[in-house]
């Protein structure tokens, strides 16, 4: 992970800069607020607002300003400040620049609970909804923290667990949105964060809460400074590190949950605002102290969110802006910012963990063969089961008849549509697992899943762009667009990360930004072009084998056949590349060229899988980890095992999705996340126990 930039020695001459920055931010906030008040769907403009100030306005204007404009403005300020501070504190406490309400699953948990309540037909008043969102966000955060511990050792694990759980929660949310499309209308857009308010009630309820949490954190500022410098250092100065950490995280979660309740999960403000503050810290003396950092993060968060909202409504009219959640804009802006940050930030790889959560060093050859045979048998078993199960249950005799061309019309009808789906699931699972294993090895990072480095997002964006712009596109156009999107995303990520020879942290950080940006643009495309057809977009983005025919299988099969010989030849280089930067170089491996070749394979594998069955985010992360835990980290063994595990995972997910709510169906991608996340969490948990024992 990144080490945070150490502040330079405070120079007295520069003391005025903090004041200057403060004045600048205050001016920006004032100006932004003034513009913000004049924007809206009612014909109330700047003059009317001015007249209101001098008590000359009609009741109409007063009502609009008080019930609509002011609440929106205040909630933008409140939410921005809360997220900025929450992110800042979480980053300090975990010493991890990626920690934020987004990556700790707070947003996802709150969103899920709100959608769940709506799906089951309960219409709650604001306070009820607030309570529900709060409980959901808090539960998710507590779960993540309980898994990873707050002891400071689990920095990577914190983000890993948070991301995994967030992905699973988002998937459950999307399942609910798909199943209860009628009941949850509008929650798709809200899921990206929207500042729409209905009167001042929300601000009035949550404002004091945010204020209290802010005050409490300011009270902790001095101790946070010490904890941030180092655990031992703080302990020698008599600070109870664990207690401070616990209190700070609790307060940060409280702030984030309040923000989600008010405006939905607004992306990236909690990441960008504090990161920006830290970026300014070397220039502005004193900013690294929490007494200054917390208020500045709050102000920066408010400026970011307010600016995004003003910009959105200035570019497309306020009427059109109703369809676009503000969170989409903050995410796009935040992602660009993150990419720039990752380019310039100083990165050391000292804190990186090897990609071996719960890995075995190796198993005996016999044991490996037994494992491989068992996995192969399991794959066959799962495939047969998947062919038999579904909305209509079949028996083996039916399949035999179908194979020999003797089946009746009903069985033929079912199997003709089902077999391609099963094969698609198997191929996509294998391709994604291989892609994930390659990326993790080359990037030497357990987080480096093709989804995480933006390739899956790019492919998805390419496909959705074509679906949106052209009606009734054929599959090959779609594949081309997905491939092009994946390649473009890869080009962007690599071009930006090229500085310093693809350092793994930089790659993941930039990829993460690209992934978030592509997801936001997809949402933007859907909400602007086809706001009433959420199901179609969600279905495609969820990764579904629905409607797959034999042609859909061709790209995946082709890529698997093409990459297999490359992987067989490169298996030793992979082992070396996964070690460190120096060893392969010493042994004469052309590091940059090998990395590029292997990552191109990973991109091809992922792109084909995304084109074939849509966005599946979890397989590339889970399957290689599981394989590593079972057969050890030698790639000649790891790759076959991972491919089989990936195939099994997607095939099981697909079968479950087709069967449990038949005749309705759930996309396989959502099911892989729901099935895969608990396994992954178990892996993390087991690893934690293991490392505790060995200590």
């Amino acid at each position: 992970m990144l080490t945070l930039t150490k502040p330079g020695p405070p120079a007295v001459r520069r003391r005025g800069r903090a004041a200057l920055l403060g004045t600048g931010l205050a001016a920006l906030l004032l100006l932004g607020s003034a513009v913000h008040l004049t924007q809206g769907t009612a014909s109330v403009d700047a003059l009317d607002v001015l007249r209101l100030l001098f008590r000359g306005a009609s009741g109409d204007t007063t009502a609009v300003v008080v019930e609509s404009r002011l609440p929106r403005l205040l909630s933008a300020l409140l939410v921005g400040a809360a997220l900025g501070v929450a992110g800042s504190v979480l980053q300090s406490v975990s010493r991890n620049i990626l920690a934020s309400p987004d990556t700790l699953a707070v947003n996802a948990g709150a969103h899920l609970s709100v959608v769940a309540v709506a799906a089951f037909g309960v219409s709650l008043p604001l306070l009820g909804a607030a309570g529900v969102a709060f409980a959901g966000g808090l539960a998710a955060a507590v779960f993540v923290l309980a898994l990873s511990g707050t002891g400071g050792t689990g920095i990577v694990r914190l983000v890993l667990a948070g991301t995994a759980i967030a992905l699973a929660l988002i998937s459950v949310t999307q399942v609910l949105l798909l199943l209860y499309a009628q009941e949850t209308r509008g929650l798709f857009a809200w899921g990206e964060g929207s500042l729409e308010q209905n009167g001042l009630a929300g601000v009035r309820t949550l404002g004091p809460l945010v204020g209290l949490a802010l005050a409490a954190l300011l009270g902790l500022a001095r101790r946070l400074d010490l904890v941030h410098v180092g655990d031992d250092h703080a302990r020698t100065l008599g600070v109870h590190v664990g207690r401070v950490r616990f209190a700070a995280i609790g307060l940060a979660v409280l702030l984030a949950a309040a923000a989600v309740t008010l405006a939905g999960p607004i992306g990236f403000v909690g990441l960008a605002a504090p990161a920006l503050a830290r970026l300014l810290a070397p220039v502005v003396p004193g900013l690294h102290r929490h007494a200054a950092l917390i208020p500045f993060s709050a102000a920066l968060g408010a400026v970011l969110l307010l600016g995004a909202d003003v910009l959105l409504r200035a570019i497309i009219s306020p009427q059109r802006a109703l369809e676009v959640p503000t969170g989409v804009v903050t995410t796009i802006l935040g992602a660009i910012f993150l990419i720039v940050l990752a380019r310039t930030a100083r990165i050391t790889s000292a804190t990186a963990e090897p990609p071996a959560a719960g890995a075995r060093s190796g198993v005996s050859a016999i044991r490996y063969r037994v494992v491989l045979v068992v996995l192969a048998l399991a794959t066959v078993g799962v495939a047969v089961g998947a062919v038999l199960l579904g909305d209509a249950k079949l028996l083996l005799g039916d399949v035999v008849n179908w194979l020999s061309g003797q089946a009746g019309p009903l069985v033929t009808g079912v199997l003709d549509t089902r077999v391609p789906r099963v094969v698609a699931a198997l191929l996509a699972g294998a391709a994604l697992a291989l892609g994930g294993a390659l990326t993790q090895a080359v990037a030497r990072n357990p987080l480096a899943e093709p989804g995480m480095i933006g390739v899956v997002g790019g492919a998805g964006l390419g496909a959705v762009t074509v679906i949106t712009l052209v009606s009734g596109v054929g599959f090959w156009t779609l594949t081309g667009a997905a491939g092009l999107g994946a390649a473009l995303a890869m080009a962007v990520v690599f071009a930006v990360a090229a500085r310093g020879g693809f350092t793994s942290e930089r790659l993941v950080l930039i990829g993460f930004g690209v992934h978030a940006a592509t997801q936001a643009v997809v949402t933007l495309l859907i909400t602007l072009s086809d706001p009433w057809n959420e199901t179609k977009a969600l279905t495609w983005l969820g990764g579904s084998t629905y409607g797959r025919t034999l042609t859909h299988l061709v790209p995946m099969a082709l890529v698997l056949v093409l990459t297999a010989p490359v992987l067989v030849r490169m298996r030793r280089e992979l082992d070396l590349l996964a070690l460190d930067d120096e060893t392969p170089r010493v042994l004469g491996v052309p590091v940059v060229r090998s990395r590029l070749l292997l990552l191109t394979c990973a991109v091809l594998l992922t792109g084909a899988a995304v084109a074939g069955i849509g966005v599946l985010t979890f397989v590339g992360l889970v399957a290689p980890h599981a394989a590593r835990a079972i057969v050890g980290s030698r790639h000649s063994r790891l790759l076959p095992a991972a491919a089989l595990l990936g195939a099994i995972l997607v095939c099981v997910a697909d079968t479950v999705g087709r069967t449990v709510i038949a005749p309705g169906q759930l996309p396989a991608g959502l099911m892989t996340a729901i099935i895969g996340a608990p396994y992954f969490v178990w892996l993390l948990y087991r690893h934690r126990r293991g490392s505790a024992l060995s200590r």
């Binding site: 009941e183 109703l322 003709d416």
Partner: protein
């Protein structure tokens, strides 16, 4: 002797049983018999010629407007998407309990569709890419449009007509259309009697997300608005809707753009009433001219806004009812 008698008795019972089965099947075969039994060719909204060996009897529909068309044409569908939701939102074409649920409207189960022994499947353009070809590989498929904001009533008729031709129920379709015309004429006369001709109405529905209300206006291109137009009531929404359904988006603040119109809306008890529940204490809402003058009216539940002539007849009644209120 005894055995023979038993066999005779059993045969008789079996005959009666089979005969009883035959009578439940009869209405559909009668309906088909009135049309020509020969091959039918229809051109659907894709412009594709769909050839059927005989008028379709066993039909499934993935979208609720297709289902309603079938029911009102006297052809009880064999497969229907999201039957629970249909029952909640569409009261104009009641199902008789025989149709099988084929899953969601966007992703109908191909297994179930394959096992129903269908003559024809009716879908709208919102079915997922790839599925259309797979259904079509087994059963003829007709694609109808979900809506047509250019001419909504003609769009509705286009769907009805193509389904009627494919099922050999064109006489029934003509009857439905003339009944609907009749309904519009009498409705317009009633509107005139009530002195409301040329008055402005704004029809919408709304939903709540985390305490804030989003409003969905039915603009000039919406089917419901077109029906109101035929009654002599003008649509007041200023904004443009989407090209298929004529739907737009508004917030509470945006309602101040409306003059003192008749503000009509539809809600469903299953989902609650955002206008009454969320906006009752909102100052903007209370200040709106039509709220002050008491011109807000909630329509009866379960009238399908995107349905066929029968649903639209319900809207005519509801509109006249609202004017009398």
């Amino acid at each position: 002797m005894r055995i023979t008698r038993m066999i005779l008795g059993l045969t008789a019972a079996a005959t009666f049983f089979v005969a009883a089965c035959g009578t439940t099947e009869e209405p559909t075969s009668n309906a088909a018999a009135t049309g020509e039994a020969g091959p039918v060719t229809v051109v659907d909204s894709r412009g594709k010629e769909v050839k059927l060996p005989h008028p379709a009897k066993r039909v499934a529909a993935t979208e609720w407007n297709g289902v309603e068309h079938l029911v009102s044409l006297g052809v009880m569908p064999v497969g229907v998407s999201d039957i629970k939701g249909y029952g909640q939102w569409v009261s104009a074409g009641k199902l008789d309990g025989t149709p099988k649920d084929i899953g969601t409207r966007g992703e109908p189960s191909l297994d179930t569709l394959g096992s129903l022994g269908l003559d024809l499947v009716i879908v709208t353009d919102s079915v997922t890419e790839g599925a259309l070809e797979q259904i079509e590989a087994k059963v003829p498929v007709i694609v109808i449009k979900g809506g047509n904001a250019q001419d909504p009533i003609a769009g509705m008729y286009a769907g009805l007509d193509v389904i009627a031709k494919a099922t050999g129920t064109e006489t029934k379709a003509a009857q439905l259309k003339s009944e609907f015309d009749q309904k519009l004429t009498t409705g317009r006369a009633e509107v005139g009697k009530l002195g409301a001709l040329g008055q402005k109405v704004a029809f919408s529905d709304a939903y709540v997300t985390s305490g804030s209300v989003s409003i969905r206006p039915y603009t000039k291109g919406a089917l419901v608005s077109a029906v109101f137009g035929k009654l002599g009531l003008e649509t007041a929404w200023p904004m443009a809707g989407d090209p298929a359904y004529g739907l737009a988006q508004a917030d509470v603040e945006g309602l101040t753009q409306l003059p003192d119109v008749r503000f009509w809306y539809i809600a469903n008890n299953a989902d609650g009433d955002p206008y009454q529940q969320e906006l009752a204490n909102n100052a903007i809402w209370k200040n709106l001219p039509f709220v002050k003058s008491g011109k807000v009216h909630r329509f009866p539940d379960s009238l399908w806004m995107f349905g066929g002539p029968k649903s639209m007849e319900q809207f005519v009644d509801a509109a006249v009812g609202a004017l009398k209120n």
